[in-house]
Amino acid sequence: MKYLSLIFRNISRNRVRSILTALGTMVLVLVVTLVWSVLDFLQKATSEKNANIKAIVTEKWQFPSQMPFSYAGPLSEGGPREKGDYRVKPDDSMTWQFYGGSLVQDPKQRNPLENLFAFAMEPRKIMTMMDDLDDLPKRDPKAAEEFKKVIEKMEQTKNGLIVGKDRLKLLNKTVGDKFKIYSINYKGIDLDFEVVGVVPPGRYDGSVFMRRDYLLDGLDQYERNNKKKHPLAEKTLGLVWLRVPDQPTFQKVAKQITTNPAFSSPAVKVETSSSGIGAFLDAYRDLFWGMRYLLAPAIWVTLSLVISNAISISVRERRLEFAVLKVLGFRPGHILWMVLGEALLLGLSAGLLSAGATWYFVNKVMIGIKFPIAFFPAFFIPIDALWWGVMVGGVAALAGSLLPAWSARTVKVSDVFAKIA
């Protein structure tokens, strides 16, 4: 304990230098934590799961996928064709259609901030199938109960909208507001909406949900008014999501869908959500590679050099002190560990402080890093970042202080005092 106290006092000896070194460490730990958070999130999103798998059915040869809505029913059951085929339970699937529009009628007057882009789907599937909302009852039972009421209200309100809090703010609307949206992608299908609630804070803060039957009604209305089908009437289904219990079931469902002639025009493909996201992220592969293997290590090396520089200066200034400690009986190993201890204490503390502050600020104040990519509007700092921060700071401190500590260890008493004499 006394030894630790001595280490602590040595750090506080030159406070300005210690604070500057700690600040440098904190900034670099912050950057590494942010980079790793994004990479970790994407890594988890693209890692294949063995159980409780989500499969995505999309058009095989076209992106974005535009399937006829007649695919929705049979695909939602897993595309069974023959006796004995696996049927996905109704609760374990969802369909996505996308409706985009603006509050402003005149296309020339439109401001992107007044646009919205809605997932058209069955309301109750929002809580059972959407990532990060399907586990809300476990994560936050109180928020789940509140959101359930919002879903129920949407089920009672055909033109109801559930909006993420950031999007609601951008639209300058509140719950209960009614407004008309002039469609951008479904030309001629302008719809009246009423905001019935807000999505729980998190991943969908910028998102909007509407009822799919309301969009289908709009397509029917268009046909009645114009005596012809809307150009997108047979291309309205974007994705179908299926939840299957395990890999063998996924393989079976995938096979029964892809070999079913009912889904041949247009042809569809089935992939796990992980591989689907992975394929989407393939375009960013070089960027992620650079972040993981160039940026993060470069920051780490820089951090080690900053610490090494500060500790080296300190060791040079304290050669006499180390010589005195040796005279008093301190062994070379004691001196080595004292210097390493000072660097480690500084690095570990700064790392923990930085990661903790980053976690709190990003998750609680900023509510995520806005890095919209692959349907992920924001990234959050995982709780693991606390030990990442400690590890990044500690390892950098250790690496940076090894040489200075060895130099302190090898201080020769007679040489130091000869110079003084």
């Binding site: 006394k2 000896r13 006499l320 005195v324 040796k326 008093l328 062994r331 005092f417």
Partner: protein, 233 residues
């Protein structure tokens, strides 16, 4: 009956190599220091007195010859072994005190005790006792910067005796002090010898300081050139 020896130096040579040139600092020097003797080493700069002091204190090893201190042959010990040995057997007093500025007087004196298997309470008691011996019981929480030169040297002496070593080596302990403070420090060293039974080896340039020792040895070019026993009442 002659006293047992604290220090035995036998035919010690020490040379350094600087810029490819060999510098012989000690040339076959032999020396005995009996227990409870206060020995002064004098000589011109470069005569080898500090080198001899470092060898006796186990801060350096001889090029050849044997040194036995407090019953242990230290001339063949490794650096780590010498460090451990020094903790219990040698108290070192520096000319410029060399106290750690971030620690109080009490904590500076406690430093060598950190290396011994003692409880915090035992460490504190021993350190307070040492500070009491040197007359600084009322300055235990002062930092070095808050103490005069003489007081800092007393803390240095307390640090040297806190592990109860058999031998105290002092390298010009009065060299940085005014005459009054120097006299007080010398008086303290004499008391340590007589009341606590310590052997003291002191390097000094000051003849008045040497007069307080039991015996003075003169070194020149790495050899003892003269010795005389001074009896004190």
């Amino acid at each position: 009956m002659s006293k047992a020896l604290s220090v035995e130096v036998r035919d010690v040579h020490k040379f350094f190599t600087r810029g490819g040139e060999r510098l012989d600092v000690l040339n076959g020097l032999s020396l005995d220091v009996p227990q409870q003797e206060f020995l002064a080493l004098m000589g011109p700069s470069g005569s080898g007195k500090t080198t001899l002091l470092n060898l006796i204190a186990g801060l350096d090893t001889p090029s050849s010859g044997e040194i036995q201190v407090a019953g242990a042959v230290i001339s063949q010990m490794s650096e780590a072994a010498l460090a451990t040995w020094r903790t219990r057997n040698i108290g070192f007093v520096f000319q410029f005190y060399h106290l750690l500025p971030v620690l109080s007087a009490l904590e500076n004196v406690e430093l060598p005790l950190l290396l011994l298997p003692l409880s915090a309470k035992q460490r504190r008691e021993q350190a307070l006792n040492a500070l009491d011996i040197v007359g600084l019981a009322d300055r235990v929480h002062h930092r070095p910067g808050q103490l005069s030169g003489g007081q800092q040297q007393r803390v240095g002496i307390a640090r040297a005796i806190v592990t109860d070593p058999a031998i105290i080596v002092a390298d010009e302990p009065t060299g940085d002090l005014d005459a009054k403070s120097a006299e007080a420090i010398l008086e303290l060293l004499v008391q340590l010898k007589s009341s606590l039974g310590k052997s003291i080896v002191m390097v000094t340039h000051d003849p008045r300081a040497a007069q307080r020792a039991d015996r003075t040895l003169h070194l020149d070019k790495g050899r003892l050139v003269e010795s005389g026993m001074l009896e004190h009442a």
